[in-house]
């Protein structure tokens, strides 16, 4: 079985981002970038499936600038077999990325696509679902457990109010949630071995996909500063404020 894993280069989760002063977006100058944490979980799951003998080949794919090679190299160091960079500067939107992945699934004859449930930069949570629609194949989203038996996939997905278990047939699209696994660290021997693994670059035009944004960003601002809280003397005060000021009861 061949698995395609999507990997996105995003602002490191430790960075406190700030809006640009002209409100055109988030300030990315000299900001540390890293692999989207949900993508790491997807890579880890693919590697575990390979270690369990259920997957033969893992292909990591990223849509992004040349610098995204770093995240692909990381995926290779974590255990992916080869990588494809689809070169694209600037914003990438879920539909464009889904179209790219769709083309690559066809080209690679992949049996399964593993993605993070969302990327922590735009938090769209759409790419996997759109890809499944384009492929006209089943989707298992927000999964916390994955079992594969031949063509049959059983997953547990995290939904509001509990866990949902579903089964479907491959080929399929799977998006992973936080609790699926704990990604390993890239070990130094594997980082050095990853240098030998192939990393190809293609232009979206070669795949016949137009990645031009369909959305116009009007403005990006910092969240409003929260007002400081107060300490109330009695429960009666609290009830009074909840009823008359906050108007929630």
């Amino acid at each position: 079985m061949k698995v395609l894993v999507a990997v996105k280069r995003v602002v490191d989760y430790n960075v406190k981002v700030r809006a640009k002063s002209d409100q055109s977006g988030v300030d990315l100058a000299n900001v540390k970038m890293a692999m989207n944490p949900f993508c790491e979980i997807a890579v880890e799951e693919a590697v575990r499936l390979k270690e369990a003998g259920k997957v033969e080949e893992i292909v990591a794919v990223s849509v992004g600038p040349d610098a995204a090679q770093e995240q692909l190299r990381t995926a290779l160091a974590l255990g992916a077999d080869r990588a494809i960079l689809v070169r694209h500067e600037g914003e990438s939107e879920p539909l464009g990325v889904a179209k790219v992945l769709h083309k690559l699934v066809e080209r690679e004859q992949a049996d399964m696509v593993l993605l993070g449930k969302q990327a922590i930069d735009d938090d769209n949570n759409q790419t996997g679902q759109m890809l499944a629609a384009l492929m006209n194949r089943p989707q298992g989203t927000f999964i916390s457990e994955l079992n594969i038996d031949g063509e049959q996939v059983s997953i547990t997905r995290e939904v509001d109010g509990g866990l949902q278990k579903i089964r479907f047939q491959l080929p399929a699209v799977i998006t992973v949630d936080l609790r699926l696994n704990e990604p390993r660290y890239a070990s130094l021997p594997n980082i050095m071995k990853a240098r030998q693994k192939p990393l190809d670059a293609v232009d979206p035009a070669e795949l016949g996909v137009d990645l031009e944004p369909r959305l116009a960003v009007l403005k990006v601002t910092d969240p409003p500063v929260r007002q400081a809280g107060i300490v109330v003397e009695t429960v009666a005060d609290l009830v009074d404020k909840l009823r008359n000021e906050a108007k929630v009861i």
């Binding site: 430790n14 190299r73 990381t74 660290y185 070990s187 130094l188 021997p189 980082i191 050095m192």
Partner: protein, 395 residues
């Protein structure tokens, strides 16, 4: 130096390791005055981080020093200076001479397990009566048949209460004070974990900082060690140790760089959030100008230190640059962290803030690993500025 994507991925891996495997436990380890060296070193060993530059025959990666350098910088970001220091003892203080000059047998016995993290190592140079003046050490290793019989004591031994073996500098005989010493691998524990015969822990030393790192005074009473566990030639120990100090000094500078970058980042977060007179603390010119000055000085330190790294990679004698970097990093640590702490106000003086621990921990580096004054002496010697008759022993 142009870093490759492998350097960057390695740095990222090391940084994540610090954030997830070390930082969450720092409060507890500091309180308990010890960290679990064996457990942590095994994890580091499994990732290859204890053998970056060590030969492949002993399980290392055999890479050039620049790869180790990026790891050291990331380790320095740790919320406690004690843990990176202990790791540095294992990788850059107790083992470089063994890797360079040890026989196959002694490398398999002591270096391979230090690379895998199965064994904890320490370096035994300083004594109660000799520290900066290395040639004045008195611990003796007297030959008796195929053994050395070792007597003396070793002080300020980082990892001392937990270590399995010591890379010890001892007097093995001869007249010239630079040619009468040898480096010997001395077991501190038997295979069952009990103390090796003749070795005793005299005391665990309390310090103003580096609380989770154990520091010991160890005594050796007629400890028998096979002569073949000596590193390299007899009488060459002082020279080997002087070479081994280059890694130690660069480690100190590199991990300090990580600590200082982190101190600045933490302080910037704090002064952006903390408000005074209706505006963020950062808005005061005295604050943002000072932070700009500190960044400038740190960039200078980084350039100097990486010049030292390049010099090591090129196979040159890095002594002057490594010594300058060590001196410069220790001094900048004192001023930079003090300046940062000031802007934390009362929080900076409270034990619970990260900056106050960095303040206590970093003070060591003007003393440990060769005091500032020793670095100055070495730099003078290389510049031919040392007046006759007052030369220090450390090159």
């Amino acid at each position: 130096m142009q870093l490759t994507s492998e350097h960057k991925i390695l740095a990222e891996s090391a940084r994540r390791f610090v954030q997830q495997e070390i930082d969450p436990h720092v409060e507890q380890w500091e309180r308990e005055r010890i960290f679990p060296a064996r457990e942590l070193f095994r994890k580091l060993g499994a990732l290859g981080l204890l053998g970056v530059t060590k030969p492949e025959q002993v399980g290392g990666l055999g890479l050039d020093y620049s790869y180790a350098a990026v790891v050291h910088q990331e380790l320095g970001r740790c919320l406690s200076g004690g843990v990176p220091m202990a790791i540095g003892v294992q990788t850059d203080m107790a083992t470089p001479a063994l890797a360079r000059f040890g026989s196959d047998e002694v490398r398999q016995r002591f270096l391979a397990p230090a690379v895998s993290g199965e064994m904890v190592a320490c370096i035994g140079v300083s004594e109660p009566d000799a520290g900066s003046d290395v040639a004045a050490i008195r611990t003796r290793a007297v030959r008796d048949g195929d053994d050395y019989v070792i007597s003396g004591s070793k002080m300020w031994i980082t990892n001392g209460t937990q270590a399995d073996w010591m890379c010890m500098l001892a007097v093995t005989g001869g007249d010239h004070r630079h040619r009468n010493k040898s480096l010997i691998c001395v077991p501190l524990r038997d295979e069952d974990g009990s103390r090796y015969p003749g070795v005793s822990l005299t005391s665990k030393i309390e310090k103003i900082g580096m609380h989770c790192s154990d520091t010991a005074l160890l005594s050796f009473d007629e400890v028998r060690v096979p002569v073949r566990w000596r590193i390299g030639e007899e009488g060459e120990g002082f020279i080997y140790q002087m070479q081994q100090f280059q890694e130690e000094r660069l480690f100190a500078a590199l991990s300090t760089i990580g600590a200082l970058e982190q101190a600045l980042a933490e302080t910037e977060d704090y002064v952006r959030e903390r408000r005074i007179f209706g505006a963020p603390v950062l808005n005061n010119q005295v604050v943002h100008y000072r932070l700009a000055e500190l960044h400038t000085e740190l960039a200078g330190l980084k350039a100097l230190t990486w010049q030292g790294v390049e010099s090591v990679v090129a196979g040159e004698d890095a002594t002057p640059l490594a010594s300058m970097a060590k001196l410069s990093s220790a001094r900048l640590a004192r001023t930079l962290i003090d300046s940062c702490l000031q802007y934390w106000g009362g929080m900076g003086y409270s034990s619970e803030s990260a900056i106050s621990r960095r303040y206590r921990d970093s003070r060591l580096w003007s003393i440990g690993g060769g005091a500032d004054e020793v670095m100055l002496g070495i730099i003078c010697k290389h510049l031919d500025l040392m007046p006759g008759g007052t030369e220090g022993d450390r090159r």
